[in-house]
Amino acid sequence: MDGGYTGLCRRLISEAGASIGDEVLVVTRKGEYRGFLMMRYELGAADHIVLKLANGYNIGVKVWDDSRVVKLSESRPPSFRAVEPPPPDPGLPHVAVISTGGTIASRVDYRTGGVRPALTASDLLSAVPELSGIARISAEVLMSIYSENMNPRNWALMAERVDSLLRSDVDGVVIAHGTDTMGYSAAALSFVLQQPPKPVVLVGSQRSSDRPSSDAALNLVAAVDIAAKAPIAEVGVCMHLGHSDDVIAFHRGVRVVKLHTSSRSAFKSVNCEPLALWTRSGLKIQAEKYHRRGGDDYRFMPGFDERALLLKFYPGMSPEVLEVLRERLCLRGVVLEGTGLGHVSSSFIPTLKRLRDEGVFVGMTSQCRYGRVDMLVYDNGRDLLRAGVVPLDNMLAETALVKLMWVLARAEEYEEVKRLMATNLVGEMGGRSMPEGVG
């Protein structure tokens, strides 16, 4: 055992023959402390031993060369005991829950003191027993990674697994996912799993599921309910609409973005309404058009080409950035996150022309997020258009990047890349722009 301990602490503990969880006495020049030996917190100073006192509190005890650790008794190691879930009801729809990691599938690890992905999907079921009243759940752990560590290979793996589930007898699929990049994964799955016959619902939580106040439980209940019964067969994201534990929004996968670092209402549909709003009393569909459950037009279209880049323009940015990256990363396409209606500095125009001549696709989105790009309004916009930049309407920059990777994997020619990028394929662009707070 090292329990996160190094140096002197480690020596004193091992000389005492003590392990994490044992009851020990620590004698230092300042006094004596009796308690249970706890794991060392990663960020703490190295010369402190962590004890849990009899009253449940932890404290850090500083040790010196002349300090002693005495083992008093062995203790049972901390463990999470899952409550046995109730037996499945054969009359209920069948929902597959895939765990990929993230806060929704994480617990405090008392051995490290950190939140880490450790909870299996079936642990979640025992933590949220009402799920068994909504659907028969089959759970599996596909991967266990933080969402910032996700990459297009992970998207592909996820898509492949969901594809095989969509072809099985399940009525819907739920994917537990870390929230940081859940929007990207949702967009990726939206392009690969086109016109799915059943709902594919990504769900996360902003506060870990081991806290009494976690948003995980209600998000998961809504996600499973939607996967089991909703008429909408699309790839979407299920998260809290506001600060209350009552309304859960079901967002279209290509339109959703995380707009807050920590709030439970972090996820918003941008430039459109959520597909539907879920409450305990039912599902209220908001979307004018959606893909209905049970169609036979499902197509599995896998593949991502990672030679694409998302670049946020800022005042004074040198066009050289683009040239160097194009060179070093052998880019085949770039999504620009421009200012306002879709602009970058006119100093970029020669570089953009050259990229166009070399067959590198460059598309324009806006860092405003809300609204659509329009490059006909100002001179500079028209010049950028002439330099070959393709306006991407009201597509989210993140979605545009994912789409570009997907398009590059199936289109060799520039013109075909351009055509696909400018075409609405799964609801990722287009639609009417509405005033704020209306409808």
Binding site: K30, G31, Y33, M38, Y41, L43, G44, A45, H48, V50, L53, A54, N55, G56, Y57, N58, I59, G60, V61, K62, R76, P78, S79, F80, R81, V108, Y110, G113, G114, V115, A127, Q206, R207, D210, R211, P212, S213, S214, A217, L218, G242, H243, S244, D245, D246, T261, S262, S263, R264, S265
Partner: protein
């Protein structure tokens, strides 16, 4: 009957909680001063029980989650942020609060920990949005001395105050978030206190040390005293929320008498019953009450409820026995029913017929339940689910009555009695707050704190008495009434006379209170403003009592407009000076005569009594007379 506490093996431990007067809350930058007048937004939440790191569920958490209430929170943007909403991780532990806690620890001879670890204590009644309270041990050990006897301190902790309960009804509970996160210091003594009197003295001694830091909040709701009380063969009972020092001995005595009675009941029950209670078997007896005159039952039946009954064999007579005011097994049974099922109350055959229930109804109830003379029957009228849950709680409590005194958490009432609120939480409810890294307390920092420890209240009393020429008794009264802090603030910020301020804060307020004025409504800001206006000469000393009385009865926050509405501030000092000039001019030939000047003063007082301070008038007059006579001579 006087109790021999020593023979009974009384052990009391204290947990003294006090709000700290920091600029910011413990884990976020929201202020700790707030008023509740502002606009509120509200949101709703649900909390779920969570397993502890030992994989166990906490009994107190299970109690709350069995009720699974909808929780409505009200927040004011001025006094709460996303941290209080549990939608932003806690910021770093407030250094000002740590310093106050360490200062208090050093004053009590406690040993600060080398490293503070913030913990999460599971509390799922909704009083913390997170479902846990953040708390940390800052120091261990130390003592307070009471009548020459050392009472050991176990821990000094720093924790966040809970949200304020606004109202609770079946299925819904509402809280206000302004208070959530205000730093609280908790000083816990070892359970070695042997008498109610010693408990009061120890609590006061701890309170005095906390106040010596000069950084604790004062006034209603800023102090909460919890008591752990046990007697030999009894149980450890935690009594929460004793607000006043004076109530502590009453609470201890009540609790001892309650435990003694429960022990007595358990012995007699064991003798009567032999074995345990039969299995839980609630019986629907609604049909016996279809024509009832009982308003409570009638109302419940009209709302679609049922009357459910539970037989408690051999309990007859024991339920209503009351050896000490308020101590009754019936009160315990009812409290369980209310706490677990939120019913309005229970009926039991010890007190029937009564409450509109006739002797015929009781007779048919006894017959239907097969209850003999030695047996008791408990009734609950409510919607069936709640009635059954209430009887289940009654049954569980009745089963405890056979064993003696249950471990529980109780609340103190204003009359010194206590009432059951929930089971006692276990150690299983504590786990690390992983969002906050441990905070080291270095030797250098402690040395620096030791070099600037505040004076104790005894030293302070000595100093103030000397400095302002006040009697030691008067200063002690200021201290005991927790007014010495505002006394010093007033003297620091105004030119009011120390004697006037001190006597006003003691005698005048006491006499106002005796006359039925709610002096509790005089906040420190109001008191300060009163003395500011007084020393500015806006009103005279003679009017002080009236101003305070009006401010208290009207609950004003703006003293200046109160004073002018009383017609006291109508006098313009320039106008006074002009009038004095005129007076002096008219009487210029008599100015050498001292009696004439006295007469002029009399005229002035007649005109301005109660509106301009006499001393001020005298000063103005003397100045003018001096100027005039000086001018005449020159």
């Amino acid at each position: 009957m006087v109790l021999d506490y020593e023979r009974l093996g009384l052990k009391v431990g204290l947990e003294i909680h006090r709000q700290l007067n920091t600029a910011r809350k413990l884990f976020c930058p929201c202020p700790t001063e707030y008023d509740e007048s502002g606009e509120k937004i509200s949101f709703t939440r649900f909390l779920r029980e969570a397993q502890s790191e030992l994989g166990e569920l906490d009994p107190a958490a299970v109690f709350e989650s069995r009720k699974r209430k909808k929780i409505v929170y009200r927040m004011d943007r001025r006094s709460a942020c996303l941290v209080e909403l549990d939608e932003e991780p806690p910021h770093t532990l407030n250094g000002e609060a740590v310093e106050i806690a360490l200062t208090a620890a050093l004053l009590m001879g406690s040993t600060p920990v080398d490293e503070i670890h913030v913990m999460r204590k599971i509390v799922v009644d909704g009083s913390n949005t997170a479902g846990f309270q953040r708390t940390c041990v800052v120091a261990t050990g130390g003592r307070v001395v009471v009548d020459g006897e050392a009472i050991p301190i176990q821990t000094i902790t720093l924790e966040e105050d809970a949200a304020r309960l606004v109202e609770s009804s079946r299925g819904v509970v509402e809280y206000d978030l302004s208070r959530l996160g205000i730093p609280l210091i908790e000083v816990a003594t070892a359970p070695v206190i042997k008498s109610p009197e010693q408990a009061v003295k120890a609590a006061k001694a701890i309170g005095d040390i906390l106040r010596a830091t000069g950084k604790v909040k004062r006034g209603l709701g800023t102090v909460r005293q919890d008591l752990n009380i046990s007697i030999r063969d009894g149980a450890l009972v935690e009594v929460k929320g004793v607000q006043e020092l004076e109530l502590i001995d009453d609470v201890v005595e009540y609790e001892v008498r309650r435990q003694l009675h429960l022990l007595d009941v358990s012995k007699r029950l064991a003798a009567r019953l032999g074995g345990g209670l039969p299995a839980f078997n609630p019986v629907d007896v609604t049909h016996l009450f279809t024509d009832t005159k009982s308003k409570v039952i009638r109302r419940s039946l009209d709302a679609g409820g049922r009357v459910m009954a539970l037989l408690l064999p051999a309990f007859a007579g024991l339920i209503s026995e009351e050896p000490f005011k308020g101590v009754r097994l019936g009160a315990e049974l009812a409290a369980y029913a209310k706490a677990w099922a939120e019913v309005e109350g229970i009926f039991h055959t010890d007190e029937l017929p009564g409450y509109g229930i006739t002797s015929e109804e009781v007779a048919s109830l006894r017959k239907y339940m097969g209850a003999g003379d030695a047996d008791a029957v408990v009734l609950v009228a409510d919607l069936e689910h709640y009635a059954v849950e209430a009887l289940r709680a009654v049954y569980e409590r009745a089963a405890e009555a056979l064993r003696g005194v249950p471990n529980e958490t109780r609340a103190a009432r204003q009359d010194g009695s206590t009432v059951y609120i929930r089971p006692r939480p276990g150690a299983a409810r504590m786990y690390p707050e992983t969002d906050i890294p441990p905070i080291p307390i270095t030797e250098n920092y402690l040395e620096e704190l030791k070099s600037r420890l505040p004076e104790t209240l005894d030293r302070l009393a000595e100093r103030l008495s000397r400095q302002y020429g006040l009697s030691r008794q008067l200063v002690q009264e200021l201290i005991d009434r927790e007014r010495v802090e505002i006394f010093m603030e007033i003297l620091g910020k105004t030119s009011a006379s120390p004697t006037v301020v001190a006597t006003t804060l003691t005698e005048t307020l006491t006499s106002l209170a005796r006359d039925g004025v709610d002096v509790g409504r005089l906040g420190e800001r109001v008191l300060l403003e009163v003395f500011q206006l007084l020393s500015e000469g806006v009103f005279s000393k003679e009017m002080l009592r009236d101003v305070l009385a009006r401010a208290a009865s009207e609950g004003v926050s703006d003293v200046r407009s109160l004073v002018s509405s009383m017609g006291l501030a109508a006098v313009d000092l320039e106008e006074v000076r002009r009038y004095v000039d005129e007076l002096v001019e008219r009487n210029r030939s008599f100015l050498g005569d001292e009696r004439a000047v006295k007469r002029l003063m009399g005229d002035l007082m007649k005109r301005y009594r109660g509106r301009v301070d006499g001393r001020l008038l005298h000063q103005i007059l003397s100045e003018r007379v001096a100027a005039r006579t000086g001018a005449a001579q020159g």
